[in-house]
Amino acid sequence: MTAETGDRVTITIDGREHAAEPGALLIKAAEEAGTYIPRFCWHPRMKPVGMCRMCLVEVETPRGRMLTTACTMPVAEGLVVDTKSAVVEKAQEGVLEFLLINHPLDCPVCDKGGECPLQDQTMSYGPGESRFVEEKRHYEKPIPISDLVLLDRERCILCARCTRFSDEISGDPLIEFKDRGNLTQVITFPDEAFSSYFSGNTVEICPVGALTAKPYRFRARPWDLEAVESVSMVDSFGSRVSVQASQNEVLRINGVDNDPTNQGWLSDKDRFVFEAINSEHRLTTPLVKENGEFREAQWSEALELIAERLGSVRGDEVAGLGGARSTNEEAFAFGKFLRTVVVTPHLDAQLDDGLDPRFLAGTVARATVSDLEEAATILVWAADLKEELPVLYLRVRRAATELGASVVVVHPRRTGLDDVAAVKLTYRPGDGADLLGSLRSKRRARAEVTAARAALKDGPVVAIVGRTSAAERPGLAEAVAAFARDLPGAKILPVARRANVFGALDMGLSPELLPGRVPAASAQGRSALEEAWGPIPEPGGRSATPILEGLRDGAVSSLVLLGCDPARDHPRPILARQALENAGFVVALDLFLSDTAQLADVVLPLEGFAETEGTVTNLEGRVQKVNRIIPGPGRSRPAWSVLGDLSRRMGGDLGAPSAEVLMEEIATVAPAYRGLSWDRLEWGDGREGLVVPTGDGEQPLQHVPDAAALDGAGDGWALHAGRVLYDDGVLTRMSPSLAALAPRAAAYLGPADAGKVGVEAGEEVILRGPYGAVALPVGIDPTLAGGTVYVPANLPATAALGAPSHVEIERLEGGGS
């Protein structure tokens, strides 16, 4: 009976035999077999430490029964375990009592009250009454350890989940144990705050209320919260979240463990961005501009006005921008509206800050995030993932530290991954093609290049490619992908950051693409779509920059914006402003009165994240369901419904009585999405999300990256306009807790380059580029490539510079007076 069955072993738990995976931890194996062993310190995504001792069980050994911790015990053939013996029960009760003797009885005012494992297990396993008559341990009650997190050491049960998370998972060990014995405490280092992009995870996994998050402290009792599972729309990684609300207000976002994506973790931006949902700055009613001033309007009035204005010009005088922050259903409705109701070929979900849409949507041999688990080598030639796609950063970090992958990072300055990288190549933006050339060649090169060549010979290779910043030519990423394609076992993960940009492109929001990854130039694809939609405009429409230029020059007269803020997000902010100011008519559908919306003629309030239902597609092409838990503020409406209404007023019909019906249509007309349904994603085989086809044969668009030589020459200083996580983007700006974390703006130079310019840290310089100029204090960045100036993109003080490839630096003479 105890023979091994396949690669499983037989173990006996409380007298019953079970098959288990050999080497699995007993606590997990028992749970799979239906026996829950209580625990505090063990967390399935971290290494066991056996510290709390709550999971004690008795195992049979040649020397008799022995108490051991189930979280540290790997199972092997023939293991016999008793999880309920009198000895076990007494030991567990004893541990609970030990944990409680110094625990304050402030459950009624504790954020964790109601969802606290200590509280729960005290009910199930604990002694009735306290026999501890000595005085409890006292510490100063909650102390802030960062701008977001507070620590109450009296409540702490010293389980080391927070310390392990920040050490093992996020790699910023800023929270540690201090002192020993009865005085052991969790604390941060003197003068160093727990300022981690991932600090909220520790609050979530803290088994008691010792770590609490400022943004939701005392906001709600867990039992008052309703929750719905959804997907974070802060970036394109698609982390699974639980959105929790009470009385029509989102009060908390927690991580959900979705194995192929976030594995339970979130960035603090994913987590605390809920403040923006509840922002008092949300648009609540349509606005119509009269004599330069907005006034509130009824929906019917505003829509009628728009229908009239858009109907009064030729279709191809109208352009549409946006959709990358919307659901797939909304983006699809937007594309259908533009192509069949307005009848224009000019549409773009990107703002020239991303990559070629065919590359993003249709790369051959596209990697999934899970491929990182098997990769021998990971090439990261993209933005600093920690700043732009923080949870992808966690997954790459895990591959490096836990799974032994060698990581090769190529970037103009230090990135978050450098600490775990096997090789780091620093290069001046513009010199990427040269560097790529020397990676390809066999000629002698500097040591790092040789090391990178060697590492990249070891497959399977996953190459994460993207633009290191919006100031870098987009073609480089494609050249890198073309190079990476030939590496052993290579797969490519092209990355762009904005929420649902991949979904929006898949829905055809690009002059190059039709829904479902079909090239707009494909006659066959066009006729298939026309069968469903009727005639659509000829290919060859304008993308974002030509649209803005057309508006500026008069070739395009009207603009429809869907959750899109070119005045902020386009690399040429002056062009965007001129375009908006010269445009004949601009309508903005948005959540906020953005810089762009302020220049619009009509503004329509949208329902957004947590308020609308639909699907989103992440950077690997994984489609997941997002859900609604609260209604939008005021008279806001979902974009698909607004666009349907508008279409009718313009004499068209989107045929979209609901978002779900739109999904049904997507599943019919968008080849890559064939067969998808909300049902499958919610209840069927798509619970973890479904990756729409990427395989060479199945995917309609099979884009082979272009290795065309790139000319990086330019006059002046190469600009690196890398983003930081807490920039001046609208979500951060509208989340007070996050907005406070935005870094100070500066123009960073390497020490030698600062010497060349003749400036020191703190002195002011003027940076002048083709799109604008800004005055900034100088910062010194010893990690920066020579000949480069780094200006964090999209901070209030840097936005006006835009993202040109080169800038001039001017010293402010006579400064300091």
């Binding site: 066991p48 430490v49 056996g50 510290m51 709390c52 001792r53 709550m54 004690l56 022995m66 108490l67 911790t69 540290t72 000895v87 007494k90 030991a91 009760e93 004893g94 541990v95 009592e97 030990f98 944990l99 003797i101 110094n102 026999r131 501890f132 000595e134 049960i157 010293l158 144990f177 002192d179 020993r180 014995g181 009865n182 005085l183 052991t184």
Partner: protein
């Protein structure tokens, strides 16, 4: 009485107390000749064979057979040897003498052991409160390097060994071998979960042997005279001589090297000179603060061997014998020991972190005259939650034996002196 055995560890320091720590004296009295012979004429396996044949048991506390432990060393390289000189068990001061007075004996033992184990990097972890022994050892190591007994190609044999001294920072728990390894790696001194044992995954996750100073100091004699000769000294199951640290209420406290075949009466009365000022022996701790106590009525004629002591529910532990006379307030004595362990708990695991301090507070309260009748059962029950069953060797709800160590004095006073504790409760005595 101690006679008819060769002084294995302390011969040189007894005969030449002035300069037994110098390399000149060491070499003049035959030091390093064993190393010469072994490196030129013996294979590593032959050296190991002698250690196995000697039946030498570890002197750090657990009395684990050294040869057997060496046999567990995993084959992977690099691999390490760590000499445990943390000597922090209250009442123990024997390693200090070996470090201060005969450091070359330890160095020679270390080189021989390293040779046997095919180790090329060895460390001595010296407790932070031992600056003088550490200095002496370092000076001796420098001398040994200069003389070619350490470093590369030792004595032309092709065998390399580097030996480094690392000073602890004042934590008792760093004597526990895995906490020691963490500390050596620069981490918090916290015991690791075993398995894996250090012999498989030790320092920097490499195979590592950890042995006590006294254990390793025996190796030159064993290799010189043969394992069989060593095994014939003392009790067959407790081979060789041991260095006992005798302290407390005895006339002649100090370190004594004796073969393990005496009785406690001989050790305390003949060697220690008995109890001063005509007082009576009340009890003693046979093997360091962790060990359950012995009392004259039951144990005076018990033999000082590993097995005899184990049969009587205690251990020889670190070889620290602490004698208490009839003026001793056993509750105060127990409190003092429990306080030590509570203070030294690394704080990692719940029962030890919380339990030892709780026990300490209860005893303190009783000593302050605020004991309650139910406290006696509570003391035992809380102890039981740290060490289920209150047996010896202890079962543990903890990661390492430190937690259960704090229980020993409590079970001891409750077993032998319960009436005294009860009296104290009844009287509300304050001391």
């Amino acid at each position: 009485m101690a006679s008819g055995f060769p002084p294995i560890l302390t011969g040189r320091m007894t005969e030449a107390p002035g300069d037994s720590h110098t390399i000149a004296r060491y070499e003049a009295t035959g030091g390093y000749t064993t190393l010469r012979t072994a490196l030129s004429g013996m294979t590593p396996e032959q050296v190991t064979e002698q250690v196995k044949a000697s039946n030498l048991q570890g002197r750090g506390g657990a009395a684990f057979p050294t040869g057997v432990k060496w046999g567990f060393l995993a084959p992977a390289t690099p691999r390490f040897l760590v000499v445990n000189a943390d000597e922090s068990e209250p009442g123990t001061f024997k390693d200090r003498q070996l470090l201060e007075r005969d450091p070359h004996q330890l160095i020679e033992g270390t080189v021989l052991s390293a040779y046997a184990l095919a180790v090329h990097h060895a460390f001595v972890y010296v407790r932070g409160e031992y600056p003088k022994p550490a200095r002496r050892l370092q000076r001796a190591i420098d001398e040994a390097y200069a003389a070619g007994f350490l470093g590369s190609d030792i004595l032309g044999s092709g065998f390399d060994l580097d030996l480094m001294v690392h000073l602890g920072a004042g934590a008792y728990i760093c004597g526990e071998e895995t906490a020691l390894l963490n500390s050596l790696e620069g981490k918090r001194g916290e015991p690791r979960i075993k398995p894996p044992f250090p012999a498989v995954e030790g320092l920097y996750s490499r195979p590592t042997i950890v042995n006590n100073v006294e254990t390793i100091s025996n190796v030159p004699w064993i290799v010189a005279n043969g394992g069989r000769a060593y095994a014939s000294i003392g009790d067959p199951a407790s081979a060789g001589t041991r260095l006992f640290s005798l302290s407390g209420h005895v006339k002649n406290p100090g370190n004594y090297e004796i073969p393990m075949d005496l009785t406690w009466r001989e050790l305390i009365y003949d060697i220690g000179g008995g109890i001063p000022e005509g007082r009576e022996l009340k009890c003693w701790i046979p093997g360091g603060a962790s060990a359950p106590w012995f009392v004259p009525a039951e144990h005076l004629d018990t033999r000082v061997t590993k097995d005899d002591v184990a049969e009587n529910g205690s251990m020889l532990g670190s070889g620290a014998v602490v004698v208490m006379d009839d003026t001793t307030n056993v509750v105060a004595a127990a409190h003092r020991i429990v306080r030590f362990f509570a203070h030294e708990s690394c704080g990692q695991c719940t029962p030890c972190r919380e339990g030892t301090t709780w026990l300490e507070r209860m005893l303190w309260r009783i000593l302050q005259g605020h004991g309650r009748p139910q406290d006696l059962d509570m003391l035992m029950d809380v102890s039981d939650n740290i060490s289920p069953g209150l047996t010896w060797p202890p079962a543990m709800t903890t990661i390492c034996p430190l937690g259960p160590s704090a229980v020993s004095p409590i079970t001891s006073i409750m077993k032998y002196f319960r009436d005294e504790v009860e009296e104290m409760l009844a009287a509300g005595v304050t001391t």
